[in-house]
C-alpha cells in the first residue's frame, strides 16, 4: 500500500500560462517514455524479481515515478490554468481543449493516448531490467528535447530535476542487473529464467539463485 505526502518532490511554481509548452510537456505524463509508463512498468515488473532487494528497488523507483507523474501534471496544470479563449485558439491548443477543457489527460504530445503497449513485462528479470535501463535513457532524451524547446526558468528547473533523476535511476538499475546476474550461472546468464524455470542445480544446491 501507499502513503501520500501533500507536497511535490521538487517545487513547481509557474507564473505565466503557456499552452504551447503544455502540449509538449504532456508527453512526459502519458507519452511513450513518460512517467505514467515508467511507474506502471516498474510496479508491474517487480513481482517476478527473484532478488528481494531488486524487487524493493523497483517498488521504490516506481513510487518515485508517481511523484514525477504528479510534478509533470502540476506543470501542465499550471501552464494551462487561466488561459484565455484567444490563447487557446492561437497556440494550437483547441484540439486538446475540445475534449478535455484544461483537465490533465494522459496522452503523448502527438495526441496518442496512454497505453500499456508502451512498456513490457516479460516476466524474465534480466530482460525486464535491461528494458528499464533503456527506459531511463529514453526519458532522459525526451527531457533533453523538451529543454531545447523552453527558456522559462520556472518551467526549466523542475524539468532539469526530472532529467537528473533519470540518470540516477539508470545507475541503480545497472546495479540491480548486476545483483541479479551475480546470483545466476556466471558462464551463461540465460541458462534459465530464474522467475519461471526450475534449474538443473535445484536439487543439490538450495542457493542456486532460481525461484524454486
Amino acid at each position: 500500500m501507499w502513503n501520500y505526502e501533500k507536497r511535490l518532490e521538487f517545487p513547481v511554481n509557474i507564473k505565466e500560462p503557456n499552452a504551447k509548452l503544455a502540449q509538449v510537456i504532456i508527453s512526459q505524463y502519458g507519452g511513450p517514455d513518460g512517467e505514467m509508463g515508467a511507474s506502471m512498468r516498474y510496479l508491474s515488473q517487480r513481482y517476478s524479481m527473484p532478488d528481494r532487494n531488486v524487487a524493493g528497488l523497483l517498488t521504490d523507483i516506481g513510487t518515485e515515478e508517481l511523484a514525477h507523474l504528479e510534478m509533470v501534471a502540476t506543470i501542465v496544470h499550471q501552464l494551462t490554468r487561466n488561459l484565455s479563449m484567444e490563447e487557446i485558439e492561437k497556440s494550437g491548443f483547441a484540439p486538446y481543449y475540445v475534449d478535455h477543457t484544461v483537465g490533465v489527460w494522459p496522452q503523448a504530445a502527438s495526441g496518442f493516448p496512454f497505453t500499456a503497449a508502451q512498456f513490457q513485462v516479460t516476466g524474465d528479470p534480466v530482460t525486464d531490467l535491461t528494458e528499464d535501463l533503456a527506459a531511463e535513457q529514453k526519458a532522459r532524451t525526451t527531457y533533453d528535447n523538451i529543454l531545447r524547446l523552453i527558456k522559462e526558468p520556472d518551467v526549466c528547473e523542475p524539468i532539469k530535476f526530472l532529467r537528473a533523476r533519470e540518470i540516477v535511476h539508470f545507475q541503480r538499475f545497472g546495479e540491480a542487473l548486476r545483483m541479479t546476474q551475480d546470483k545466476l550461472d556466471g558462464k551463461n546468464f540465460y541458462a534459465f529464467n530464474p522467475a519461471f524455470d526450475r534449474c538443473k542445480d535445484c536439487d543439490d544446491k538450495p542457493d542456486c539463485g532460481c525461484n524454486n
Partner: protein, 85 residues
C-alpha cells in the same frame, strides 16, 4: 509568517530528497553502514520538521492529521496549486 512556511516546506523538500536518493542507493548497497547512518540522521530530522510544520500550518501526511474542530487533512492545500495559485 508566509515566508517561514515556504522556507520550512522547502527545507522538508531538501531533506526528503536526501532520503529518497539514499533509499535507492541503499536498495543496491544494503550493507553500506555510512549510508545507513546518514539515512537515520536525516530521517529523524525530517520527522521533526514535519511535526513542526503540521503543528504550525497543515499536516503533510495522514499520520500527522489528528483534528478536533475541522478535518485538517481535507482543508490542507494541494501541492499542484503552487505559490501563485
Amino acid at each position: 509568517m508566509g515566508n517561514n512556511k515556504d522556507q520550512l516546506l522547502r527545507d522538508i523538500g531538501i531533506v526528503g530528497f536526501v532520503l529518497t536518493d539514499l533509499s535507492l542507493y541503499l536498495d543496491t548497497h544494503p550493507f553500506d553502514r555510512n549510508a545507513m547512518e546518514y539515512f537515520n540522521h536525516y530521517n529523524r530530522i525530517k520527522h521533526q520538521m514535519e511535526k513542526e510544520f503540521s503543528m504550525k500550518y497543515f499536516p503533510l501526511t495522514i499520520n500527522m492529521a489528528e483534528s478536533n474542530k475541522e478535518w485538517r487533512w481535507g482543508m490542507a492545500p494541494l501541492p499542484w496549486e503552487g505559490e501563485c495559485g
